[in-house]
Structure formats: C-alpha cells, structure tokens
Amino acid sequence: MRLNYPKSVRIIRVPCTGKVDVLHLLHSFEKGADGVMTVGCMEGDCHFTSGNFRARKRVEQAKAVLKTIGMEPDRVEMFNLSSAEGPRFAEYVRQMDERIRALGPNPLRKALKKAA
C-alpha cells in the first residue's frame, strides 16, 4: 500500500498486546518517550481471547499513574484495528502524532539530559 504516516513513530512488535505490561509503558516514559500508542486487534477478535482487553486495562493503569505524578494521561492510548486495516493504522498514527505534538515533548527528557 506504501502508505505515509509520521516518521516520529517507532514500532515495537509483540506477539499480542496482552504481552504489553504497565511497566513497559511506564519505562518508555521514564526513558524519555513523548507518547505510547498500544495497537491491538479488534475487541472480540483476539487470537488469545482476551489479550487486547488486558492491554486496555494496562493502558488505563498507566494513564492513572501518569495523572497522579503530574503528567498528561493522554500521552498513552489504546487503539484497536484489524491487520487488514493499513489506512486506518496510518490514520491512528497521524491522530496520535498530532495529539502528542499538541502536548509537547516529554517533560522528563529535559531533566534526563541535565542529569546526564
């Protein structure tokens, strides 16, 4: 399809979004990521029955932690689409890219640079 989407996104492949833990999400921010999008299969279509529901819960947990420590919960989000929906994936990436640009860079990055 050769679709275009923002180059700000780095893809990390996992066997199922059920593998994504709240710790993975938090460590991403700790290391300076501006945002994290978790992209799972359509709800009800998980090959492992409930992997994408687990991922959604963990994204909610990460949002709660971010909010508590004074960071924007919108920096992490759960998306659902099927593997046949390339154009929709590109659209979601554009949406997330716009959202994160509006929020600005991860505030920890400046502190991390200073510490280094």
Partner: protein
C-alpha cells in the same frame, strides 16, 4: 493470606520526599498474590516515584528489590550488604514485614507502602474478602466451616441476631449473614442438630484481648 491494599501514590510521595536514596522493598508472598506489594507493584511504584521526582527537579536514587519474604530473618539478611546505600526503605510488605525490616535495620527509616487489611481469600482477581480474625481458638468444626468471628459483624457465637434479613446482614445488603450461611450449610451436611448446641462463653484471652500474642513451640526449636 494477609490481604493488603495499595496506598495512594500521593501519600507515598509525601512520605518519601525527605529521603534522597530510597529502596523500594517488595515481598514475594501474600502481597504479591493480592497485587499490592510484589515485584510488579514495586516496579510500577518505583518508576512512578522516579518520574515524579525527576519532573520536580529533585535528584533521588530509587532502587527496587523484592525479597522472598520480609517476615523471616534469612530473607531480610539478603539486603544487609546494601542497606547502607539508602536513607530509607519503602516496604511494600504487610505490616509484619515493615516491622520486621525496621527491627532488623535499626538505623534505617522504614516506611509502609501498603495498607494491611485482613486475613482473606481471592474470590476472583481483584476481589479479596475476609475469612479469619486469628482469634486463637478455632470454632470452625462446630460452625460447618464458616467463621462467625470474622464473618458476623457482631462476632456472635449463637446467631443469627434480629438484624438478619433474607440471608443478609443489617450492616449492608451486600454482606451475607454468617449465621444464615452456617445454618444453610449445616442443613446441607445433614448436621442441623449441631445448631441446637449452645456455645459457652468464648475465651477471648487468645484474641487481642490478651495483648500481643506469641506461639512458642519448644518441640521444633533447635
């Protein structure tokens, strides 16, 4: 198991604020099962604290260790060689683990990271309920395996009281009447004649009424 619940992160932030070097200390036993103080919760809390203080411009060293247990000498000894690297320990174990850690490392401030709640069971993931109050004189043999001490709001030994309605306790429509459960189960076990026997006055000296308790077993002491 001992059931604990997480303390709000805001409360923990305020408690650890004065300390520059902090060890977040988890426990692999009960608090792991009730998802309040195991390795995972240690990781999440430590990460949240590191991010918070980094964002605030406060330099802190926050490390993570999870011990097999915090209620036994041998496991607590595992941190002896590094304890001096820290100003304080944030223990995610139950109140027992927090106290034993504090007893062992007298010069360190030990802070609790969870609220210890009760002795209970995992009914399903995310739902833990009370089953035992450790009264020291078990009556379960006579009450069809249902504890009136922990599950009856009044701790009645000869129940139910007048507050029992349609199998529920008067304190809440969500709380089962323990004595209704006992009667139903005695009936199912064809042991309803046991219900006719009256309990004599319970010896509460083995409960908290007798002060802090201990179990001494000379037969296993070496």
């Amino acid at each position: 198991m001992i059931v604990a619940d997480k303390k709000p992160i805001e409360e923990i932030i305020e408690a650890v604020r004065p300390y520059g070097r902090l060890l977040v200390l988890g426990c692999n036993e009960c608090v792991t099962v009730c998802e309040a103080g195991g390795k995972k919760e240690v990781g999440v809390l430590a990460s949240a604290l590191r991010m918070y203080f980094l964002n605030q411009g406060q330099e802190k060293r926050i490390d993570e260790v999870t011990l097999e247990r915090q209620c036994d000498h041998e496991y607590l000894e595992e941190i002896r060689d590094r304890i001096d690297n820290y100003d304080a320990v944030l223990s995610l174990a139950c109140g027992v683990g927090v106290q034993f850690t504090a007893e062992k490392y007298l010069s360190k401030t030990v802070l609790p990271g969870v609220n210890t709640c009760f002795l209970g069971v995992t009914e399903k993931r995310g739902l833990w309920t009370e089953r035992c109050q450790a009264c020291g004189q078990c009556v379960l043999a006579f009450t069809a395996g249902i504890c009136p001490i922990s599950r009856c709001a009044k701790r009645l030994l000869n129940g139910p009281c007048g507050g029992s309605t349609k199998g529920k306790c008067e304190i809440s429509k969500d709380v089962d009447c323990a004595w209704q459960l006992i009667i139903d189960r005695l009936k199912a076990l064809n042991r309803l004649e046991d219900y006719e026997k009256l309990f004599s006055i319970k010896d509460w000296s083995t409960d908290r009424a007798g002060g802090p308790r201990k179990v001494v077993r000379e037969d296993v002491q070496i």
